[in-house]
């Protein structure tokens, strides 16, 4: 028996050689001295926690779960997973009402869309913001994303569902909470692009929030239930219907591919390859399957692409950047890959606001100095953070494609 092959623990904390490179790339360490850094919080602390759980340190809550430590680690240690699992296993602090509200994007979204005009108007009011700041500890600087009065799902059922079966190829769209409740336009853009290249868009029988916000707010059981439901429906689509799953949010896709098995213990090995991100899916169709995109004439724009943390971890920024570069007249600048500071619901919490803005400061400076017309990124919470903290608008690469696309020509080019 080869002892070296069997004495490695699941999250391989013992392979850490204490080089501290992870700490160099941690976005929290330079701005929050209360956070001991990924090496200390992760593999070092794990040794102590294995001895006695009471060595768990509440300061682990300052971890953003950005996974940049894992991307940097030369030894392949799953530092971010170690920290998040320790929070799940040993954390004693119960989620507050605010955390439950922020985490339940699904439930809050479905109520808020019904009352969208009222909700949007009141969330923008100063007294409401101050009340939320004072009572719920949701920072008053934050601008809540607007809720749409019609969900993406209901738009789809009324306007798109009936014609999808006419396309030769089919896939299932995991729209996520943001597209459904806040910004159905992104979903419509995606349907437009996919239909133009001959792909019919289906929805899952049922989809729940991927659960990323539940995990980070400590609502693990609920996260696991939602993960199981999603995987069940994903299995039905991928294995029974042969329809791959495609999402537009890098975080939803990352969570379903990697956090489900690593943090929630929900096995997805049989369908993981079938869970894809929109830009990667489209890039692959062009690269390997002969799909063509045709663009309108006269486009001229300068775009700065921001790599969200989970996109960096997925390693897929190349796909989004390559697609944007295919549009004639686009000048693309890749911004330095760094955390914007929002980390989902983290930045909404009053106690995290200064840290959140401190983390993003150098990114915001680079964006302001870029001279770009707008920023493109695959993550909705990065979009909120950048739009709040800079003068630039942020667009999803799929929306950029949809706007630049010559639909008639694209349909013709892919008809053969």
């Amino acid at each position: 028996m080869n002892i070296q092959q069997v004495n490695i623990s699941e999250n391989n904390f013992e392979q850490c050689i204490k080089c501290t490179i992870c700490t160099v790339y941690c976005p929290v360490v330079p701005v929050n001295p209360d956070y001991p850094g990924p090496k200390q919080a992760g593999p070092d602390g794990e040794r102590l926690r294995l001895k006695r759980g009471e060595f768990f340190d509440e300061s682990l809550k300052y971890c953003l779960n950005c996974k940049r430590c894992e991307v940097a680690c030369p030894s392949g240690v799953k530092i971010g997973d170690i920290i998040q699992l320790a929070r799940i296993k040993y954390g004693k602090k119960k989620p507050k009402l605010r955390d439950v509200m922020l985490a339940n994007t699904d439930f809050v979204g479905s109520v808020a869309t019904k009352l969208a005009p009222v909700v949007n108007a009141s969330l923008a009011l100063k007294p409401v913001k101050l009340a939320m700041d004072g009572i719920l500890k949701i920072d008053a600087h934050r601008t809540f994303p607007k809720y749409s009065s019609q969900t993406f799902e209901s738009w789809y059922k009324k306007n798109a569902a009936y014609k999808q079966q006419s396309y030769k190829n089919q896939f299932s769209f995991f729209h996520g909470c943001y597209v459904n409740y806040n910004y159905p336009q992104l979903g419509k853009d995606f349907v437009k692009v996919m239909n133009a290249i001959g792909y019919g868009v289906n929805l899952l029988d049922e989809e729940k929030c991927c659960g990323v916000a539940l995990v980070s707010n400590g609502l693990i059981n609920q996260a696991r239930r939602q993960a199981e439901l999603n995987i069940k429906n994903i299995r039905k689509s991928v294995l029974e219907k042969g329809c791959p799953i495609v999402g537009v949010s890098s975080t939803c896709v990352f969570t379903m591919r990697d956090e489900y098995p690593h943090l929630l213990g929900v096995d997805n090995a049989d369908v993981r390859d079938g869970i894809n991100l929109a830009t990667r899916f489209i890039y692959h169709l062009i690269d390997e399957c002969g799909v063509k995109l045709k663009f309108r004439d006269g486009i001229k724009m300068k775009i700065a692409y921001h790599t969200p943390c989970h996109m960096e971890k997925l390693g897929w920024a190349y796909y989004s950047a390559s697609l944007l570069r295919m549009i004639p007249g686009v000048e693309l600048q890749m911004l330095d890959s760094q955390c914007c500071g929002i980390a989902g619901t983290y930045g909404f919490k009053k106690e995290n606001y200064p840290v959140s803005q401190g983390i993003g400061a150098s990114l915001f400076r680079q964006i302001e100095n870029s001279g770009a017309d707008f920023v493109a990124t695959d993550c909705e919470t990065c979009k909120w953070q950048i739009e709040m903290s800079t003068s630039k608008k942020v667009m999803h690469p799929v929306s950029v494609l949809a706007e630049a696309l010559d639909v008639e020509e694209t349909i013709k080019a892919n008809a053969k």
């Binding site: 070296q4 080089c19 501290t20 700490t23 360490v29 001991p36 680690c73 030369p74 390693g315």
Partner: protein
């Protein structure tokens, strides 16, 4: 995904190769599993300091002729001097400011304060022409209070043994004291980051200046300039007398900056750098690599005309030691190693260690060998190669850069 060349490994060898190719219009992708050993850089690049018999080298280019046939420099042969100059000018062209010549070694200071021969030294540091440069000098050794990776006493002892007079002081600011909350994480890059705001740096420098009147030269740990050289220039102008930086224990601030600068240069030329990914498997057809598959890109293969294995040595898992063998895990290339494990190492820690010479077998032009046959489109460069002992011979950086440039030119010539 399709590229002209895919380079596996994003350290000194991988980036050196990628930059030369990309500069000449060859479309490259670098796949890097985590950050590289450049984070452990001394701030200098060695070409050749000692021969295998232990004799000192003054002129690396001449002495290289005396190396045995397996040494990577022997494959570069007559072109060694040419590629050494190319390596230097490529570094400078990318923004890594270095001094030194391949014809004559100079001396660098180690973290322990001793002097060692070297080839190129970054402008952060001082390259001494010989070992006697410190004699009669009054040196003020300044540490940041609480910083454990800078051994002031060792450094003072070493400098004093060379005839210098030393005094040691520690300085602190609220911003550096804050780092002491996590004493194990008070490392050079964290200090460098704390000193990034100009007001903080100015406060530290005025404290240092006020205590340095007595000294001819101020000795400081290399904790300045994580992303660019501006803090160093500022520091030298404020202190107003000779400043001698000493490298710290890792992580290395100048090393991290070098990694960043080289990666940016590569990307600016249009290269694609994929960090945090590793090759999971490769398709081999007719003695060639047809495609590779990585952890991140899964079933979407990556294709190229040529591949370069620049995965480094044991630290970065370019070589993996098993109980009874040493293997190259990406392609399963042939590795030259002693069959008896007892011959791998010497129980005397400071003696020459056998495992240092192990590495991937290549043909005359660095094409990697698998099952006794060179693969037609897979080259190997850097510390994954066999036949040299980077520690004993002081040739690690030289082998990395020179083999990488040589391979890049081979690929371009076809």
């Amino acid at each position: 995904m399709k590229f002209d060349v895919v380079i596996i490994g994003g350290g000194l060898a991988g980036l050196t190769c990628g930059i030369r190719l990309q500069k000449n219009g060859v479309k490259c992708a670098v796949i890097s599993a985590g950050q590289s050993a450049l984070h452990f850089s001394s701030g200098s690049f060695d070409l050749l300091n000692k021969l295998p018999d232990g004799s000192d080298v003054d002129c690396p280019v001449e002495a290289a002729g005396k190396l045995d046939a397996l040494h990577p420099y022997k494959k570069i042969g007559e072109l060694l001097g040419f590629y050494a100059d190319e390596a230097k000018s490529q570094l400078i062209g990318c923004g890594v400011d270095v001094v030194g010549e391949a014809g004559a070694n100079t001396y660098r200071i180690t973290p322990m304060g001793t002097l060692r021969p070297t080839w190129l030294t970054m402008s952060d540091f001082t390259a001494f022409p010989d070992g006697n440069s410190l004699s009669g000098k009054k040196l003020l050794i300044v540490n940041i209070a609480g910083f454990l990776d800078f051994n002031t006493k060792f450094i003072a002892d070493s400098f004093e043994s060379r005839g210098a007079e030393c005094r040691i002081v520690a300085v602190s600011l609220p911003e550096t004291e804050r780092l002491r909350l996590s004493p194990t994480e008070m490392r050079a890059p964290n200090i460098a980051r704390a000193l990034e705001p100009e007001t903080v740096l100015a406060a530290l420098l005025s404290e240092i200046k006020s205590r340095s009147e007595w000294a001819d030269c101020v000795v400081l740990p290399a904790v300045f300039g994580l992303s660019d050289l501006a803090p160093l220039d500022y520091m030298r102008s404020v202190i107003g007398k000779k400043v001698c930086l000493v490298p710290t224990m890792p992580p290395s601030v100048p090393g991290i900056r070098t990694q960043l600068v080289l990666r940016r240069a590569f990307e600016r030329m249009g290269g694609v750098f994929m960090l945090g990914d590793s090759v999971a498997k490769a398709d081999l057809k007719n003695g060639e690599i047809a495609a590779i598959y990585t952890e991140n890109h899964g079933d979407y293969g990556i294709k190229a005309h040529c591949y370069v294995l620049a995965t480094g040595s044991y630290f970065s898992k370019g070589l993996v030691a098993r109980p009874d063998s040493v293997v190259e895990p990406v392609f399963g290339c042939d590795v030259d190693y002693e069959k008896k494990r007892a011959d791998w190492y010497d129980s005397s820690f400071f003696a020459r260690q056998g495992y240092m010479r192990f590495g991937v077998v290549t043909d005359d032009c660095f094409r990697a060998v698998k099952n006794g046959k060179a693969l037609a489109n897979l080259y190997a460069a850097g510390s994954v190669l066999c036949g040299f002992d980077a520690l004993q011979q002081g040739c690690g950086a030289g082998v990395s850069m020179l083999s990488a440039l040589y391979v890049a030119d081979k690929i371009m010539k076809g």
